[in-house]
């Protein structure tokens, strides 16, 4: 047992050190920060070491100490705490100083100047992720580890909230669209909610149907698989004439605002994609129920509804939730397409940014999508595990 965990810790040390060295490389690499005199020009890229001035050396120091401390024969828990904090500090220093440099550059050049993170800076952030990912393996699972792991995320959010990043290029794009951002975010979330909601209702019904009447299983999943395979843009394009036609013929749909473009095709397509994982997992959950347990439930005299509520549902729920999790993450990323067909959402920034070659505007759309997807993934995973632990050592 302790031999195995020691081996895992040794391996994590390789990862932590490599991560830290990657951080060193990223600090020295050319595209650290990109300074542009306005939104359109290409601008000038500097390595982080140069761009952050003295703080660049601090950053370098942090990486090197993280790499070195991974090897100092301190107790693993102590090493874990120190290196995790160092990893977190690198990302915080990087982001904080980026905000400061952006402000300085604006004061120097004028208010239309933009400062963006170059690819080397993103690489440095990934290196910090790798260091934290590895060094937390030296710590025992528990709330303290969770706090340490997510501290940099909280820190960056705090920095953004404090206004320290207000001149960062993404923040500028955000400021330009101001309340537009929150409107699109709400819209995006409503697409996700609509799709996953439909997915849950339809997917659960179809999954249960296939599980109860096994002869229908190939048909149900055959059709759902076809929907799953259709290319997003083609699918949403196909919905255009169909929904236009339906809306022309059915006044109620027209009053609801169903048109060939806008929210209606987005919801239809995302829902169709969301059904499959939920239906598949519902089916698997029911089919893989232990027949002995079901037999026992009947044998002790449970009624049908009681059996469902006390045994089948609780046992199937974690698998079902796993399906919902897939659908949620998938829809969060998929809803980007709404921006292309007049449905708005965070995708609007992405497609607008693509048209203008404005990376920071694209990021204004992409970063919240990634953050939301990860957030949903984590939260639902916690729920899934909580519902299905049943004494397993997790």
């Amino acid at each position: 047992m302790s031999f195995v965990s020691d081996l895992i810790r040794q391996r994590a040390r390789v990862v932590a050190t490599s991560g830290a060295l990657l951080g060193v490389a990223a600090t020295l690499a050319p595209h650290g920060l990109v300074f542009r005199e306005n939104r359109i020009v290409r601008g000038e890229a500097l390595p982080l070491l140069e761009a952050l001035g003295g703080w660049g050396w601090v950053l370098l120091g942090l990486w090197l100490s993280a790499a070195a401390l991974s090897f100092v024969p301190l107790p693993w828990a102590v090493r874990g705490n120190i290196v995790t904090v160092l990893g977190g500090l690198t990302s915080l220093v990087l982001v904080w100083r980026y905000g400061a440099e952006a402000l300085r550059y604006v004061e120097l050049t004028g208010s239309i100047a933009r400062t963006s993170l170059g690819w080397a800076a993103w690489l440095a952030l990934f290196a910090a992720y790798a260091v934290i990912f590895a060094s937390t393996a030296w710590l025992d699972p528990g709330p303290w580890r969770a706090v340490l792991t997510y501290l940099p995320v909280v820190g960056i959010i705090a920095l953004a909230a404090s206004g320290a990043l207000s001149e960062a290029a993404i923040a500028r794009e955000y400021a330009n669209s101001a309340d537009g951002f929150w409107r699109e975010l709400r819209l995006h979330l409503s697409y996700v909610a609509g799709a996953v909601g439909t997915g849950i209702v339809a997917g659960m019904s179809l999954g249960l149907l296939a599980a109860r009447k096994r002869t229908l299983e190939p048909a149900v999943f055959g059709v759902l698989n076809v929907l799953q395979v259709l290319p997003t843009l083609a699918f949403i394009g196909l919905m255009n004439p169909i929904l236009t036609g339906l809306s022309d013929r059915i006044p109620l749909l027209e009053q609801l605002g169903v048109r060939g473009v806008g929210w209606a095709p987005v919801i239809v397509v995302l829902s169709a994609y969301a059904v499959y994982p939920i239906a598949r997992n519902t089916y698997t959950a029911i089919v893989s129920l232990d027949p002995g347990v079901i037999d026992a439930a009947r044998g002790v005299g449970m009624s049908r509804p009681r059996m469902f509520a006390e045994v089948e549902l609780p046992l199937a729920l974690p698998v079902f939730i796993a399906g919902v999790r897939i659908a949620l993450v998938q829809s969060t990323a998929g809803a980007i397409i709404a921006g292309l067909v007049g449905g708005g959402g965070l995708g609007r920034f992405v497609f607008l940014g693509a048209a203008q070659t404005a990376s920071d505007l694209i990021l204004l759309g992409v970063l919240p999508i990634v953050a939301l997807a990860l957030f949903f993934d984590r939260i639902v995973l916690v729920l899934q595990r909580a519902l299905g632990s049943w004494g397993a050592t997790a």
């Binding site: 990862v15 393996a137 002869t215 076809v226 083609a234 196909l238």
Partner: protein, 251 residues
Amino acid sequence: MRDARASVTIHWASITALFAAVVWMTFDVAGFERLLRLLVPGQDVVTYPTKALPLLMAEQLFLTASASGIALVIGSALGAVALSRVGLPFRDLIVSAGSLAQTVPTVAIMALIIPATGYGARPVIVALVLYSILPIMLNVIAGIDGVPPDVSDAAHGVGMSPAQRLIWVQLPLAMPVIMGGIKNMLIINVSAATLGAVVAAGGLGMPILAGFHRYNNAFILQGALPAMALALLFDRLLSSPNAGATAAAEA
């Protein structure tokens, strides 16, 4: 038994039908045009004027195939590295970073690398390769990991070298999982290549986007129908003909 044979028949029949549909829509300009007029009555111009369908289809196939091919090579190689002693410590990180990367929409990657690559086919291919490497890697790892240890052990026991073991025992047993990964990649790439139209990469997304801009449903269908048929064809080609039957037999 009869079920199995029936499902094999259905499998090959659907492949033939889809292939025929793709070929017909691509090359029978007049015939496809008649169909579009039927589907979208009252539209004067039903054929996307900028590029002919064979060219669009060729672009679509080129984008999909080149990205998938490159990703397959790099992904398998990196998968092999991850399975080696050197890569072992990094496996958890790869899995974790992989699931993180999957939350980034492909079209966003395309858009983000435009400054580096310019518009056209290049951002699409680079984005799709970047996006596809990790799933291929993960499937190679999962496939080899999924080989029962006693089978690998037996191969070791009969005197195979590690390389022989990989080629004769582990890879063949891991193939279904790896093929599953390739199938998913291809389907994602067909879909994403359609979106490549957004960054002017050509392909079947072009008429669809033009259709949206010009309120011409015939253009949309002209891109959408072949794209769908192509995706379904790939899906069928890379699925086991017995998948349906085995599922029914297990039940």
